[in-house]
């Protein structure tokens, strides 16, 4: 049974990784052929770095992701604090609406935002581009932040806030010193989640981008619709390496933290 399960895991992992590895291998291919590997070259990587469209869209993507996730985290954390204080019925309504961008298919969210912008573009001289992208990203990032922070409230003792005030803190000081530290893990994970989703988002960006700002996924999409060049493979390899590094580093940090906790626990 054990070997069977190991084989099964191996098969699933193979299924997940083989396509990526094929991409990586062929990024070094001398010719553009996608099935026969003829020779080793770094030419496509060089071409990739000279490709200004890719580099500018990469910068766009990162900048938008950073701005949107920071804004979403602030907005979402404040919102979570406020929503938590609401009564049951308004709370349920707000939470249901908040869930909509997550539960709705991305294409519907993208289309609805596009219709909104189009409707107001004429009236307000609003241009599709950087601004609309950021707005769209914030809109679908905030629910993730709220969903990460709200559970922390459930875990927190509701009396802490009152207790702090009884001990002499004004409401805002109590907020800062008592509530924020408690919900901080949720805030951080919400920030990371929204940053990741913003980086990788394609569908919503596709409908809300304009003539000047393109994000990297949109550039990749137009690359796949045209003459395919192994530059895409080179790009995939680089993204893969970055992702691996980030995840491994994160994993090492987490393991070290756990070890520390365990060591501290053992001392007592």
């Amino acid at each position: 049974m054990k070997t069977l399960s190991k084989i099964y895991m191996a098969l699933v992992l193979m299924f997940l990784y083989v396509p990526i590895f094929v991409l990586i291998v062929f990024s070094f291919n001398e010719t553009k052929s996608r099935s026969v590997f003829s020779g080793f070259t770094l030419e496509w990587y060089a071409k990739l770095f000279r490709n200004e469209v890719i580099i500018s869209s990469l910068m766009n993507t990162i900048i938008i992701a950073v701005i949107a996730s920071i804004a979403a985290t602030v907005l979402g954390t404040l919102a979570a604090i406020g929503i938590n204080a609401m009564r049951k019925v308004p709370k349920a309504i707000v939470m249901n609406i908040t869930n909509m961008p997550i539960v709705n298919p991305e294409i519907v969210t993208g289309v609805s935002l596009m219709l909104l912008f189009v409707f107001f573009a004429a009236r307000m001289n609003l241009e599709f581009g950087f601004v609309t992208l950021v707005i769209a990203h914030i809109t679908f990032d905030v629910p993730y932040v709220i969903l990460n922070v709200m559970p922390k409230f459930r875990q927190m003792d509701p009396n802490l806030f009152e207790a702090a005030q009884d001990l002499g803190c004004g409401p805002f000081t109590a907020l800062r010193k008592v509530i924020l530290p408690e919900i901080m893990p949720g805030v951080v994970s919400g920030f990371l989640m929204s940053f990741t989703f913003s980086l990788d988002d394609f569908v919503i960006s596709y409908f809300t981008s304009g003539s000047t700002s393109q994000t990297l996924p949109i550039t990749i999409y137009s690359m796949t619709r045209r003459k395919i060049s192994p530059e895409i493979n080179a790009l995939s390899t680089i993204i893969f390496v970055v992702v691996v590094i980030v995840l491994v580093v994160k994993h090492i940090i987490e393991t070290k933290q756990e070890q520390k906790l365990r060591a501290n626990g053992g001392d007592e």
């Binding site: 907005l75 709705n104 394609f202 992702v243 691996v244």
Partner: protein, 269 residues
Amino acid sequence: MKKLKVFATPYLIWMAVFIVVPLLMVAYFAFTDEEGNFTLDYIANVGQYTNIFVRSIWLAVIATVICLILAYPVSFMLSRMKKHHQGTMLMIVMLPMWMNFLLRTYAWMTLLGNNGIINYLFSLVGLGPFKLINTEGAVVLGMVYNYLPFMILPLYSVMVKIDKSLIEAASDLGCNPVSVLFRVIVPLSVPGIMSGVTMVFVPAISTFIISRMLGGGSNLLIGDLIEMQFLGNAYNPHLGAGISLVLMVIILVIMTIMNQFNPDDQVLI
């Protein structure tokens, strides 16, 4: 605590403007024509594409079921591993998910082409080139590949919380492994199943990239239809809004039905 309610105001405004109003606009566009008159024409015209809806739902269901079957053992094995292995293995399994969605789909384009690697390997053994890409099968494969991690994660997080002693107790009481699976583990993992199914079904039914890149433009799904009406080759935002509205309703209905099976009205995420 009540005073803190005011903090939510900026978000409430944002929410109203950028979540509620756009959805209302979709409804508005769906029910009006170019001059702004109320009409049911576009909604009725959506009926012409019933076969596409049926096909999308059908393919999404197949993909979801396959994901569930593939992911269930994986999540179970992950949850039974030694603690310090779990983190690493989870990371390895989830890593492809962090790669760009388009690139992962593109990877399959190269693999499945008539002159792609898979057919190349077949040709080495003498088997003729099979039509792998531009089929419904390729689209389902793309869906499964892209959304499998979304099924593994919720299942895993639920299974990890299943008390091992329950399983031991069941075996002690005479259950064989299959019974243990179906009478103990599966019922306890239902919230995870519901969560995973949602996270796979909704994107699967509304994707347009997978069907365009792997389906060859002849296997249209709802997502393709909508995209065509707004940014593609048949500009008709009213029809597009109508299709989107119908799509939302379908998903709402299916989710409500699924909620029936969800104990304790747990949140789906």
